[in-house]
Symmetry: C2
Subunit: 508 residues, 2 copies
């Protein structure tokens, strides 16, 4: 799919597939070196055939990007005639994957090699597709990427689990500095700063664990054919895109903070951070660059998952958005309706800390932020269009705003999954600890955005300080459970460094 000049913008790939009516063959071409296929997994050394995404052209008319099966190597493993193959080069990590480049010089494949679920060409060169709108057709084809995205998000989450487990185990064994005047040295994890670095990451890892489980279940329903509602599929695509971005950035953060929390020991290869940092580094930009994916999420939200942003007249879209936002409020869950009714009682003048621990209140703060950022982004877009500015310029000026809306949406989804997971927990003792962990996750996220909440009058300056106190508190309360909480993540010992009674045992 990817080409050197077109990574994120797959719709504009340069590779062409021209239908030759006489021989009933496709002629695959790489028009310029920038149009070469790049980063293709297994292409450099081993691949025998490729699914090549190319502009489908019949009689000079371009029907957009479609996939073609193209043999690239013979039984002897040598590249076939008219196909040039290169290695993409040495990489920061994942060098066990032989990413390669493919150049096609009028390579011919039979008509049947078009993968024709969404677009068919007859022997006579007549094109037809079950999906009329070319953009909708293209995005439907791209929909298969959802499986890869759920997988990469899951891989990111796994890496995060390993990183926080390693760092918290280490912080539970490694001592440094004693109280002034002597006394036993202090475990790293007993330092407030260390708790503040690691425990919110642990909480977020748990939150994502529940979201990932939900995504996999939905993936099974949709791709297993049990849920054929196209809306369900679009919702899944959006959720997978958003979660992939969140989980892979979370992985990078856990690896970085975890490595630093382990100090020099984290820098040693046997500590595991070296290989994981290298391999997981690309997660944030492959299978869809995270920023581009968040933009897709925002587009889905702005259009109510119903249409493709690219094809929408921005003026029409802006109008649509307004109604959509109202509609979304109606669709709110019971908890959110409750929030709507009791909001004025709770805020902004209530300065008690207590309700910061109410899950409904936390969810309401998340939901309110998502709705507000999305609605205000929509209003800005509409205003720009109304004032006659170039639609692309308008969108670009609001790009950051739109990305914040997407992040806020993903945050809400993740908190909801965690809250649901807490409710489902049968064991009362575990549920209580999980619930505090969920508090920590919710409140440390609200803490990050407390500038925004104050700007929008949703929390007062006094309550904002209370939020900080209410991040410190669960850190303290969860400290004794930290060991059990990482064990419950069930990271196999085989992927963890050895820990023992002395820090030296960390070093195999």
């Amino acid at each position: 799919m990817s080409e050197s000049a077109h990574g994120s913008d797959v719709q504009s790939v340069g590779t062409t597939a021209d239908y030759d009516l006489e021989t009933q063959e496709w002629v695959i071409n790489t028009p310029t070196p920038a149009d070469r296929k790049d980063w293709i997994g297994n292409a450099a050394a081993h691949g025998r055939a490729a699914a090549v995404f190319a502009q489908l052209i019949v009689g000079g008319e371009n029907h957009g990007v479609h996939a073609f099966v193209v043999p690239i190597r013979g039984d002897d493993g040598e590249p076939l005639d008219r196909i040039r193959i290169e290695d993409s080069g040495h990489k920061l990590g994942l060098n066990g994957v032989d990413n390669g480049r493919l150049y096609f010089d009028s390579v011919r494949v039979p008509r049947e090699n078009l993968l024709d679920r969404y677009g068919l060409v007859t022997e006579e060169g007549e094109y037809s597709s079950p999906i009329e709108n070319p953009t909708a057709r293209f995005f439907t084809m791209l929909g298969t990427l959802v499986q890869g995205r759920v997988s990469v998000g899951g891989a990111g989450l796994s890496v995060a689990k390993v990183a926080v487990t390693t760092a918290i185990r280490c912080g539970n064994l490694r001592r440094q500095f004693g109280p002034p005047g002597g006394g036993e040295e202090v475990l790293l994890l007993d330092y407030r700063a260390h708790q503040r670095r690691l425990l919110p990451l642990l909480a977020r890892t748990y939150a994502m664990h529940f979201k990932q489980a939900e995504l996999v279940e939905r993936l099974d329903l949709v791709f297993g054919g049990e849920d054929e509602d196209p809306d369900a599929r679009r919702l899944l695509e959006t959720a997978a895109a958003g979660f992939k971005a969140a989980a892979t950035w979370h992985a990078v953060e856990c690896l970085q903070t975890g490595r630093e929390a382990c100090g020099g020991m984290g820098y040693l290869s046997p500590g595991g951070f070296a290989a994981r940092k290298a391999d997981a580094e690309i997660f944030t930009t492959f299978e869809g660059d995270n920023t581009v994916l968040l933009q897709l999420v925002a587009k889905s939200l702005l259009t109510g998952y119903r249409e493709e942003f690219g094809e929408l007249n921005p003026i029409g879209m802006a109008g649509f958005i307004a109604s959509r936002v109202i509609e979304r409020f109606v669709e709110r869950t019971a908890a959110r309706e409750l929030w709507g009714r009791i909001w004025d009682e709770l805020t902004p003048n209530s300065e008690e800390d207590g309700d910061l621990k109410h899950r409904e209140y936390q969810l309401a703060l998340f939901a309110w932020r998502e709705d507000h950022v999305l609605a205000s982004a929509a209003r800005r877009l509409k205003r720009g269009i109304d004032e006659g500015y170039d639609p692309f310029e308008v969108f670009n000026a609001c790009q950051d705003h739109v990305l914040v809306a997407a992040r806020a949406h993903v945050d809400t989804q993740i908190l909801e999954a965690f809250a649901h997971g807490v409710e489902e927990c049968d064991d009362e003792g575990s549920r209580e600890v999980l619930s505090r962990l969920c508090d920590l996750h919710a409140l440390s996220t609200i803490e990050k955005h407390r500038g925004w909440y104050q700007e929008h009058g949703r929390i007062s300056s006094t309550r904002s300080k209370a939020v900080i106190r209410n991040v410190n508190r669960p850190c303290e309360e969860l400290r004794p459970h930290a060991g059990n909480l990482v064990e419950a993540l069930r990271v196999p010992d085989s992927v963890l460094p050895e820990f023992g009674p002395t820090p030296t045992a960390f070093l195999r």
Copy 2:
């Protein structure tokens, strides 16, 4: 210096140097495996002698950590008798440095091998030191680390320069996606989100460039013997510690964001991010762990650079702090005095954006934050002590607060250096661009802390939104200068990947 069980807490190293009165020798010992010297540069393969930090013991009395010259290898390159040497192991990066471990089994060296500038032992075993207080003596010895810290901070800054230069050059060449309906594809750096990711990092890199230049100059004055004032030395140590933390974390951020901004191309080894990410990774924790260094900065601030925190009675310290804070206001520069006088006129009710561009106002916001966080941390410490809590528990509960104070201090120092650099610029056109870059740096930092500023009534919610607008604006205005601004950083072409008219030229 470092041992496996004592990295940050050098004062507690386990290695001992017992004075043998009969032979007038030092007997160097590694009491347990955890006390082995670790991470020692050049020790694993090549080093012939080491400066070994050990507890100096005479007749059973421990005089604290001192440095001893200990030969470790003979002319044949083999470890000497009673010395065991191991490689510290394979690392995430910097594998060209043969970090090693040293174990001493009653290794004997002559009395003269004590490096005795700060502590002397006569033939008869009488200890004397020009510095009475053992903690003060220890920290004076550690003062030599300042040179290493200025160097590592500088290395971090250099890495940051390479990373932002690479990413901005790439963003100025690489195009992706066009406006809906066709038209030329858009340069990555023309996207608002891309500007927002990279330009504040460029601005902060410039800010640090000016601070680093100032530090090197002061290092030269102090270590060149031109400024022998002990306060000047302590100030330099604090500045070096704070800058080292800020610059190395900045390097990590620039490498991560820069790599992501270059997408898959940034993942290729020839792009340069691979090696730099690996090597610079350890910067944040070696030559002093960043968190520990920031704690040292806070301690210096809290004690007015005059005494060692460890030796201070915390109750006395808290009282001392209060007077110190008042004193600091008196010491303020003219700009800050001005701010003091005009503050009420400017805020919090002025909702005009204009003054956000006033350097004095920006500096005042930074200084006010620093003073306020420091003063409130001091008050919390004092209150905890007054209420009779264990001093270590009190400090630990405030640890995060204290670290924020240190960061705020470093931020102020860096902005002041940038502001000074702008003033010193002779060329009017350049000065104007630099000044906007300084605005971007100041306002994007204020934006990060806008939650805090609102909590403390220093900016209103309306003004907080204005801050965001005033980060967007210089991003837009500086966009056309981005290319020149990175060229002016003068990163040698030899350390940059090749860029050409097509993105493929990025890949050598």
